[in-house]
């Protein structure tokens, strides 16, 4: 068990990170899933990848508790009564957060925190203090930046205080999404942009599209849209860049290789879900289920894809920049054809225990991870190939309709835009009008930066690189992505 000793002796891991690392090794020491040989080959090749989910799924990957219900009823298991003031409210929430499982052992969703706290905002000064404690506590104890809060779509006093406090604290955790709709006040949206230009959050979610696709939804983890009171059993991803390397013929890829890979992946997902739901006892025993904070009926699962750009570029072999994915019509059309094919084939598969999405897997444009060398997230245009922003938006928005469980683009803006945040709001409004689902932004001068979907501090990555321990486990992923995916080199959006 050399691996165990390595974790124990690793100088860069905190105590908590070691415990979680050791638990992962223990889980992976058993093989309880029945995996076909040809599927296992694709897993070994990295074409099918479950992103550290482990060999024996004993909790859903993404749990999206109904925090509104928790606030109204309290919890019998946790011995908590419904809160009566803001201090009880944040205390109850902070307690529950420690009991929401996930792959990282930290909750991926911590609620629509402005509307949860708004009923308890009676004195603004006191609320500001409470919210400041609340957000600091989250950053220091839920030490994983896939932990995600939602705010909006309506302006609230609590929402304004959250933005104001986050702008000051400049923490990496939690990730925050503003659910944005026509009903969101411009002043609130501009305050959100103003905060995002300092600390890379919140991102903007197209509330109308998410609601149409998912009903009562939350944005969790990176930018995953999932039903509240449920979640996603699993997220497995298909590496289109590597899969495309199996042929040079476009027709062979579309008609033979792609459908075969999809069949392999859904079969693998089916098996993971079977074990989780039928054998692991999670849904039979966990208090979140028993108290109705989550319900199996509200669960789905996510079929992820990534590396579309590299897959397309491999198949068409562009001779110059103008022919590449994100620029040339041939490349862009092929990209669309591949995604439409995936959408149709995945929708034909009957997925068990996915009633929240009508017994089907939902497509998710996966953002990649630290070990993806030179492979782009989801359908994104590779860093370094990005066209001017107006072209970029028009090209990428076309894909968003196919990905109810999450897709988004990240834009890095120049600091001069701080003088005119409405500039960015106009861009976001336009992007949502043409069907974009999710829009993230940050400023070139911020310490907190958006890596792919999650946030990490540059200063923490520097610490880790010099061999120091850092509080948040996601810094490791961030540093890997900086090295392998050039995430700090995104095109700077000034005036173009």
């Amino acid at each position: 068990m050399e691996e165990v000793l390595n974790v124990i002796k690793d100088k860069t891991l905190t105590y908590q990170q070691k415990v979680i690392g050791l638990a992962r090794i223990a889980e992976n020491s058993i093989n309880v899933l029945s995996i076909r040989e040809d599927i296992e080959e694709y897993r070994q090749e990295g074409i099918i990848c479950d992103l550290y989910e482990g060999n024996a799924p004993y909790r859903p990957r993404y749990i999206v508790p109904n925090y509104e219900k928790f606030m109204a009823k309290g919890s019998e298991f946790l011995g908590l009564k419904p809160p009566t003031d803001i201090w009880e409210a944040i205390n109850n929430l902070l307690i529950l957060y420690k009991h929401v499982p996930s792959i990282t052992s930290f909750p991926v969703y911590i609620g629509n925190i402005d509307t949860l706290l708004e009923p308890f905002v009676t004195d603004e000064k006191e609320a500001r203090k409470a919210i400041s404690f609340f957000l600091t506590h989250i950053d220091r104890t839920l030490t994983d930046s896939f932990c995600h809060a939602n705010i909006g779509p309506l302006e609230t006093t609590a929402g304004k205080i959250i933005l104001e406090v986050e702008k000051e604290l400049q923490n990496a955790v939690p990730n925050i999404t503003l659910k944005y709709s026509d009903e969101t006040a411009d002043a609130f949206a501009i305050q959100a942009i103003d905060t995002a230009l300092v600390t890379a959050k919140p991102s903007f979610a197209n509330h109308e599209i998410y609601t149409k696709d998912l009903g009562n939804y939350a944005v969790v983890s990176c930018y995953n849209g999932l039903p509240i009171g449920g979640g996603s059993h699993t997220l497995v991803r298909l590496n289109l860049a590597k899969l495309a390397e199996k042929t040079t013929e476009i027709e062979t890829f579309l008609k033979v290789i792609l459908p075969d890979a999809i069949e392999k992946m859904v079969t693998y997902m089916d098996e993971r879900i079977r074990f989780l739901v039928e054998e692991s006892e999670f849904f039979q025993t966990n208090f979140l289920v028993k108290e109705g904070l989550i319900n199996l009926e509200n669960f789905t699962s996510m079929f992820g894809i990534f590396g579309l750009a590299e897959g397309v570029n491999h198949l068409i072999q562009p001779q110059n920049q103008k022919e590449k994915f994100g620029h040339g019509d041939v490349a862009n059309d092929l990209g669309m054809k591949i995604i439409k094919n995936i959408y149709e084939i995945v929708n034909q598969h009957k997925a068990n225990y996915c009633n929240a999405s009508g017994g089907k897997y939902l497509l998710h444009a996966q953002v990649g991870t630290d070990f993806d060398h030179g492979i782009s997230p989801g359908c994104r245009i590779p860093i370094g190939d990005e066209p001017e922003i107006h072209e970029h938006l028009l090209q990428s928005a076309k894909f968003h309709q196919f990905f109810p469980a999450g897709i988004g683009d990240v834009f890095k803006f120049d600091k001069t835009t701080k003088n005119n945040p409405k500039y960015i709001l106009d861009i976001i409004k336009g992007a949502f009008t043409i069907g974009m689902r999710y829009f993230s932004l940050y400023c070139t001068h911020s310490d907190v930066v958006r890596i792919t979907g999650y946030l990490v501090k540059r200063s923490d990555m520097e610490k880790l690189e010099s061999g120091e321990q850092v509080l948040h486990d996601t810094v490791v992923l961030g540093l890997g992505s900086v090295k392998n995916q050039k995430v700090l080199d995104r095109r700077l959006r000034k005036d173009e």
Partner: protein
Amino acid sequence: MNKGFINRILPFSSVDGPGNRTAIFLQGCNFNCLYCHNPETINICNHCGKCLEVCKMDALSIVEGKVKWAKDNCNHCHRCIKLCKYNSSPRVFEASVEEIMAVLKKNKVFISGITVSGGECTLQIPFLVELFKEVKKLDLTIFVDTNGSIPLWNEGEFVTLADQFMVDLKSIDAQEHKSLTGSDFNIIVDNIKYLSKLNKLHEVRTVIVPNLLNNRRNVEETSLLVASLNPLIKYKLIKYRGLGVREGLINDSSPTEEDMNKLEKIAKDNGCEDVQII
């Protein structure tokens, strides 16, 4: 068909008025400011063809005696512009209203409106009137960025179609203005007053150059003028920056933050409520 001489169309701009705007820079200017940071916008190309010698991308050619620019070949190295002794650019193009509208229609959902700038855009008012009529149909706002040298009270249709104006007042002293720009400033002040009466004056701007200009007096008097018209009109104090400025005309550095803050205080003390340092 009325066509405009266009230096550049910037589909998304964050610095040419409120929100995101498509900025259309027209070619040709009747001023010749010592600190002009885009002197290549001053004259219409005389097609001398010297720029062809420095283009390494095969982006320039002479067709029927005129310099033609092949946009797709250009790598934007700016060698042609740096070489031009005539304060022009071979990349200027003539565009019809329809051609510009095609760009605007594509980007309409992302922008609050357009801003016409330059060069000096008011030198092409007949073209702009035709353009503005079409832009209005898209429900976009129209801002005009001008040096204020053309008597706008004589341009009723143009002023009516435009929503707001942004005007440079480079100096408040006749002699200083003349030596800086080569032109008089009386019409500019009258335009500022005229536009303010119409509630169409969005902002007034002054560039601060430490040793060349009497900045204190300029800010003192301009801010008094702006505040007397409407304290809510934006007054922008712009730091001189050497980038793009022609060599040999001006030998000066950027003002310090402290200098700018002092000038900002003067403007605020004089009653301007929206002062911005750029």
